[in-house]
């Protein structure tokens, strides 16, 4: 009985996906966090156990809810497209949207709500400008599929695909200040140590947009 429990407590950064690791690195110690679309709660649990974070997750699926309750995490069953009206302005140090932006119906509204309740926000998303995706469409003439975006076009939850350049444009348009942008070099296959050391942040933005399958952005409200 304790075995299952202990394992869930003693997990390390290696339990996280690559972008979750980067996100965890951006969150300060003892921060109050809101994890939107927290899924199985892995990132939130890591932040609470290893970063002394406080806060909770929001999740729409019952599988995700169940996983979070099983981890003992505070989680709110809700649809982030409905907004965050339950929360007051700047109630959180960080509001996290990890691999979920592409699945919301109203990305701009969600971003504005995140910026309202969070002092800083962290957004990660699959980069549709990645060469592998571009090549699939070019060569096959069919909607691309990747390990991160495995769905058929007709049943995908990912309805708001964008590239890194697209997202940068939106930030400019919405007067969102980009504090950090971290294009990640690879998904899954490469050794994790290599991935960690292999960020593409220093490359020209067009090149990063071509080479990074995932990007993490740390953002705050523009100062006008």
């Amino acid at each position: 009985m304790n075995d299952r429990f202990d394992r869930s407590r003693r997990h390390t950064a290696s339990d996280l996906s690559i972008d979750q690791e980067i996100i965890a690195g951006l969150v300060g110690e003892g921060a109050r966090v809101l994890d939107l679309g927290c899924g199985d709660g892995r990132l939130l649990e890591y932040l609470i156990n290893n970063k002394k974070a406080r806060g909770f997750g929001v999740e729409i699926s019952s599988q995700g809810m169940h996983a979070c309750i099983a981890r003992g995490l505070p989680v709110y069953h809700g649809d982030i497209d409905q907004g965050l009206s339950d929360h007051t302005d700047a109630a959180f140090d960080y509001v996290i949207l990890s691999q979920t932006l592409q699945a919301v119906r109203r990305p701009q509204f969600v971003l504005l709500e995140m910026l309202r309740v969070g002092k800083k926000i962290i957004v990660s998303f699959p980069n549709f400008g990645h060469w592998h995706i571009r090549l699939q469409l070019l060569v096959n003439g069919r909607m691309p599929k990747t390990p991160m975006l495995p769905y058929e076009w007709f049943d995908t939850p990912n309805i708001r695909m964008c590239s890194i350049l697209d997202f940068q444009d939106l930030c400019r348009q919405m007067d969102i200040h980009i504090l950090e942008q971290i294009p990640l070099a690879a998904w899954g296959g490469l050794p994790r140590s290599l991935i960690k050391r292999h960020l593409l942040g220093l490359l020209p933005r067009g090149v990063a947009n071509l080479l990074a399958p995932v990007a993490v952005f740390l953002l705050e409200k523009g100062r006008g």
């Binding site: 809810m65 169940h66 309750i69 099983a70 981890r71």
Partner: protein, 398 residues
């Protein structure tokens, strides 16, 4: 401590045959103080327990019943009982409140009419039923008597307090009033306070009872009881426990034992007949005065009346709270649960919230549903595992 389980049958997932126990508290010494300023002595409490108490008392779950419930939450009183306890789908071996793991306690609420002292009990000063001389009570008083029962049983810590509807209010009250005793609370299909509409429904129910010619200012125990008034109150309340869709799907516009409208003031529709049956059954078995007192206690419940009180009351609370609602409940709809969650979140309490889909309205909390049952089981099992881990880490014998 020996449980009240006489025999159990693991194969069926039932706690088997159980008996309701009685204990008299506050028999000597000081009476139990009530929120109204009055006090009460002695107080009889009816309760049932299921499962075995751990040596460390780390497996206690207190179940709180709603308006018309009682101490009989699970199992059967007799083998030929057609009915099981009111939450039998949730309490038993292998069920969400797993009696192979947990020690479950459920007592009849103060003011009730199923063994615990209430208006129908004998007032020792007059040797007559209290009637309306019974003091008005609150949800806080109900929780206070439960605590006294647990003290009597030698139990100081509760792993979880759980209840639906008014039972959820009592669970919330426990987390607020006895924060050092409660590790978790499950607040199901409930609300932080009654709305004007909720109070209005209760007020009409009370009017139906007090306007019954047999009410006799609550002093009806020797003669005819205000069954008709109580029955009407129950019929109305019963409508609010079901969803419009659920009720329509069950009865539609079907006629009752007839082909055509009667064109007379008869019971034309099946739904009328159903409600009449519900009302009259309830009118016979339940005490009208208890209905008045308990609905009043619900009306008064308001633990978070203003920001200062809210902050003060929530400050010591560290229980893990799980608020649950059902999408077709309109008695206490999901927005009421979210209202509670918002208050708790504002004060950075450890709270989770989940809404379940069910066609059954407010009554959903009593009915079997896989997702809902799984959520309860997962929550209480996690609490239990953490508690066991804590005990083993500080070196107490497990």
């Amino acid at each position: 401590m020996s449980a009240t389980v006489i025999s159990d049958s693991h194969a069926t997932g039932s706690v088997g045959l159980v008996t309701t126990r009685m204990v008299t508290l506050f028999a000597h010494g000081s009476p139990m103080p009530l929120d109204s300023g009055a006090s009460l002595q002695p107080i009889q409490v009816a309760y049932e327990t299921y499962g075995e108490l751990d040596a460390n008392q780390d497996n206690v779950i207190l179940i709180c019943h709603a308006l018309s419930g009682n101490a009989h939450a699970a199992g059967q009183h007799r083998l030929d009982d057609s009915k099981t306890g009111w939450w039998d789908g949730y309490i038993g071996p292998g069920k969400p409140f797993d009696t192979n793991r947990f020690f479950i306690i459920c007592s009849n609420n103060l003011g009730g009419c199923d063994g615990t002292s209430g208006p129908s009990s004998i007032d020792p000063n007059t040797n007559q039923p209290y009637g309306l001389n019974f003091p008005l009570i609150t949800i806080g008083d109900i929780a206070r008597l439960q605590r006294a029962l647990l003290d009597h049983l030698g139990i100081h810590k509760v792993l979880a307090v759980a209840g639906g509807s008014m039972g959820g209010m009592i669970a919330m009250q426990w987390a607020l009033d006895y924060p050092e005793r409660v590790a978790g609370a499950l607040i199901i299909a409930s609300t932080p306070r009654l709305s004007a509409q909720n109070i209005a429904f209760n007020a009409v129910a009370r009017q139906a009872i007090t306007q019954d010619p047999d009410f006799n200012l609550g002093n009806y125990y020797q003669g005819a009881k205000p069954e008709r008034g109580l029955s009407v109150a129950r019929m109305m309340a019963h409508i609010t426990y079901l969803s419009e869709k659920g009720l329509h799907e069950k009865f539609g516009r079907r006629l009752q034992n007839r082909e055509h409208f009667s064109f007379a003031l008869e019971t034309d529709f099946a739904v009328e007949s159903y409600l009449k049956h519900q009302g009259s059954t309830f009118g016979k078995k339940f005490d009208a005065n208890t209905y008045l007192y308990i609905t009043k206690a619900m009306d008064y419940f308001d633990p978070f009346p203003d920001p200062e009180t809210t902050a003060r009351r929530l400050q010591p609370v560290h229980a893990r709270l799980f608020v649950m609602s059902f999408d077709t409940d309109w008695r206490f709809d999901s927005s009421r649960s979210k209202e509670l969650v918002r208050i708790l979140n504002l004060h950075q309490k450890n709270v989770s919230y989940q809404e379940f889909h069910s066609p059954h309205g407010h009554d959903s909390f009593l009915l079997p549903d896989h997702e809902y049952q799984r959520a309860i089981a997962t929550f209480v099992n996690r609490l239990y595992e953490e508690r066991r881990r804590l005990i083993s880490s500080v070196g107490l014998p497990v």
